[in-house]
């Protein structure tokens, strides 16, 4: 999985993007409200969350069993299941299936796994035309970009930018120039409708796989997955091995939490259950039904502390509630999985070295864990990666040395007193350079990060502990 390594410069660029900032402010102000309103409709969110955690844990603890059961049930309905150990294998399998279907045009509904394995690019390299049919995905496909949010991939794009993209790519003679969103929607719908009708293969993701029925659950708000899955003669589902749940009832529970957590809806506009290819009694539907189960690093997380992350149902509540994400947006993370969930998942699916900033770009405020519908202990898992970075020497030497020295000093409390006194006296000297003498406005070394944006209150002349002991032992310290 590809990761852009340069978190610091990407986030710096994002902080200067005003229209992105406005979009993110809307996420930060609106999403928490609509989520919490939707969750109050549930009788007991805490109990539902606990049950959902159990369902996901059961599936992951016996993942081999449930995946094989799922496979048997898909096969019994005339479908096929393919196992892909990594992104290359997954793309090759899909390409092969497209070739067998003699496909030229492929429609796709939104799927983060296909973003992760860069499926569209792989198919295009083999000469296929690939069209994203989720409106947001379609927009960023035209712009040659990656999604900046797992649910709202074009969150960072403005309306004028969409107009530019449509003008550039749609060869349409219009009555009047594109101006408003209704026009944009109508035009996208018309363009995509033609693709839906002509497509040879439709590729969807899956929100859940149901082991006991062999069913594939896909939710959308645009209905594009249904057209993608139903109109072409071949439906290929590409998804991660962790998406399986044991029963239909379990899927029902997960769906109740998913839409509420994601966008404050009781249910998504379209919730579809796909079970195998067209049957003899069916009047429509694909003749061929394939499910490609992608591992791509997931099984390495099984059985470790990171297994908890595989419970994730990609609702994006942690992203919407993250104060870091809503400051910098998704592209800064350099991964198709941004925000708190991405900061845990990306080092697991790619490698820790290239994703090393992501687990550190968190204040551990804990809001992600609080809103997670499957109770993933995200701060704990970020700390897991930080421990690995520390022990594998992936952190800057100055930081390693600093922490080591801090531990050494503090296991000797009287040495701490001495170091504290020296540090305070240096800081006081720096504060004396200012007229009021109470603030430091420029710090050297690692402190420069503080004073780039903030002043530092000058330390007290004598520490609390020193003053305390002077009072309580007649000034004898």
């Amino acid at each position: 999985m590809h990761v852009e390594r340069d978190f610091v410069s990407l986030s710096g660029k994002a902080l200067h993007d005003e229209s992105l900032g406005e979009a993110l402010d809307t996420v930060a102000s609106v999403m928490p409200i609509i989520r919490s309103q939707a969750l109050t409709q549930l009788e007991d969110f805490a109990a539902a969350r606990e049950r959902a955690r159990e369902v996901r844990d059961e599936a992951l603890n016996r993942l081999d069993h449930y995946l094989e059961l799922f496979e048997q049930n898909v096969q019994a309905m005339g479908g096929h299941v393919h196992w892909a150990s990594d992104d290359h294998e997954a793309c090759s399998i899909v390409a092969q299936l497209c070739e067998e279907a003699d496909a030229k045009l492929v429609t796709k509904s939104k799927s983060m796994v296909t973003e992760e394995i860069e499926l569209a690019a792989a198919l295009e390299q083999r000469g296929l035309e690939v069209v994203e049919t989720d409106l947001g995905e379609y927009i960023i496909q035209l712009r040659g970009e990656k999604p900046s949010h797992i649910l709202a991939p074009a969150l960072h794009v403005t309306i004028p930018q969409v107009i530019d993209s449509f003008n550039e790519h749609h060869k349409i003679n219009r009555d009047r120039p594109l101006e408003d969103t209704d026009q944009l929607l109508a035009e996208a719908r018309a363009v995509l409708r033609e693709k839906f009708m002509k497509a040879d293969v439709g590729i969807t993701g899956a929100n859940f796989l149901i082991a006991e029925t062999g069913g594939v659950v896909v939710v959308t708000n645009e209905g594009n997955a249904d057209l993608t899955a139903s109109l072409p003669d071949t439906h290929i589902v590409v998804t991660g091995i962790e998406k399986v749940v044991p029963t239909m009832d379990d899927a029902g529970l997960m769906l109740r939490l998913l839409a509420r957590s994601a966008i404050g809806q009781r249910l998504s506009n379209y919730t579809s259950f796909f079970h195998g290819p067209r049957r003899a009694s069916d009047t429509a539907g694909p003749g061929a039904f394939h499910v490609v189960l992608v591992d791509n690093g997931r099984s390495n997380m099984l059985g470790s502390e990171l297994q908890d992350m595989l419970r994730c149902i990609r609702c994006s509540a942690c992203i919407n509630h993250c104060p870091v994400y809503t400051a910098i947006g998704g592209h800064a993370y350099g991964s198709v999985y941004p925000g708190p969930m991405g900061a845990v998942l990306t080092p697991g699916l790619a490698d820790l070295d290239s994703a090393r900033h992501l687990p550190n770009a968190s204040t551990f405020c804990g809001r992600c864990e609080e809103v997670c519908p499957v109770a993933i202990p995200i701060p704990k898992l970020l700390r897991h990666w930080r421990k690995q970075e520390f022990s594998r020497h992936l952190r800057p030497r100055s930081e390693r040395f600093g922490l080591g020295a801090w531990a050494w000093i503090n296991t000797r409390p009287s040495l701490y007193q001495f170091v504290q006194r020296v540090a305070a006296s240096i800081l006081r000297r720096l504060s004396a350079q200012r007229s009021d003498g109470r603030w430091v406005s420029q710090l050297p070394g690692p402190g420069a990060g503080w004073t780039r944006h903030r002043d530092l209150q000058a330390p007290a002349a004598r520490s609390f502990q020193k003053q305390w002991r002077e009072r309580n032992s007649g000034g004898n310290t």
Partner: protein, 261 residues
């Protein structure tokens, strides 16, 4: 001006010794808050001691240096073993001990037991005053409009939300206002604020905008000095006259720092 009923407090506190873990930041930057915490605990009837102490290990724990954090935890466990209670005027340092110390020793049952024992008797200051000492009055006045900045560790690791509000509600003359987004992080985050200063500053900017949106206001109060230094330093940089005070200073009637130098 206190309306406290002293009877139950003295029963709870009689002969009980509290060890104050002052925190590195209060030790260095705001001794007044340390003395204010002592005053509050003494008013509640406890005997307060301040053993020679260093850092609780939170920077190392969050920085991935678990071995260093473990060594520092052992030091703190030893320093505070003898007290009936350990009180910390900081949610994040209190959470380090209460929540994370017990996780640090999976392979050392004896140390894990000591960590659990320390965790059980360790409290953040306002939570201790309300939940343990059952203080229901404070001897303080502050003629000011105040916003409380919640600590994320307090909200989500220690269940501290109402305790500081209840105590501030007892301060004579003090008017509390609520932020629109009280549960959103200010961007301090320990070493986060120097590792990613630009992101941290953006988060502080949003918090300051939230503070300004409450209307006329004199003081930002918090249980955690880290957040306050971050917000106070940001406010000072942009020339704001808003004061930042540790909640102990307000509750002890020491907002004007008479005990500090």
């Amino acid at each position: 001006m206190s309306e406290a009923d002293p009877a139950p407090i003295q029963d709870l506190s009689a002969g009980k010794r509290v060890g104050l873990l002052a925190t590195c930041l209060i030790d260095t930057f705001r001794p007044n808050a340390g003395f204010a915490a002592v005053r509050l605990l003494e008013q509640a009837g406890y005997t307060v001691e301040v053993p020679v102490q260093g850092c609780c290990g939170q920077p190392n724990f969050n920085g991935g240096d678990e071995q260093g954090a473990r060594q520092m935890a052992v030091q703190i466990m030893q320093t505070f073993a003898e007290f009936d209670y350990v009180v910390v005027p900081s949610c994040s340092c209190a959470a380090m001990i209460r929540v994370h110390y017990p996780e640090l020793f999976p392979d050392d049952a004896a140390a894990a037991a000591k960590a659990a024992a320390l965790a059980e008797k360790t409290w953040e200051l306002t939570s201790f005053l309300v939940d343990v000492a059952q203080v229901n009055g404070v001897d303080a006045a502050l003629d000011a409009t105040v916003v409380l900045h919640d600590s994320c560790s307090g909200l989500r690791e220690l269940g501290i939300r109402e305790q500081p509000r209840a105590l501030l509600g007892r301060v004579s003359g003090l008017q509390q206002k609520e932020l629109a987004n009280p549960d959103v992080c200010c961007g301090f985050g320990g070493t986060f604020c120097v590792k990613y200063p630009d992101i941290s500053a953006r988060m502080a900017g949003k918090k300051m905008a939230d503070i300004k949106a409450v209307g006329p206001c004199d003081v930002v109060v918090s249980t955690d000095l880290g957040c306050l230094m971050h917000l106070g330093g940001s406010l000072h940089r942009e020339g704001s006259g808003l004061r930042v005070l540790h909640i102990a200073e307000v509750l002890a009637g020491m907002a004007d720092g008479e005990e500090s130098d």
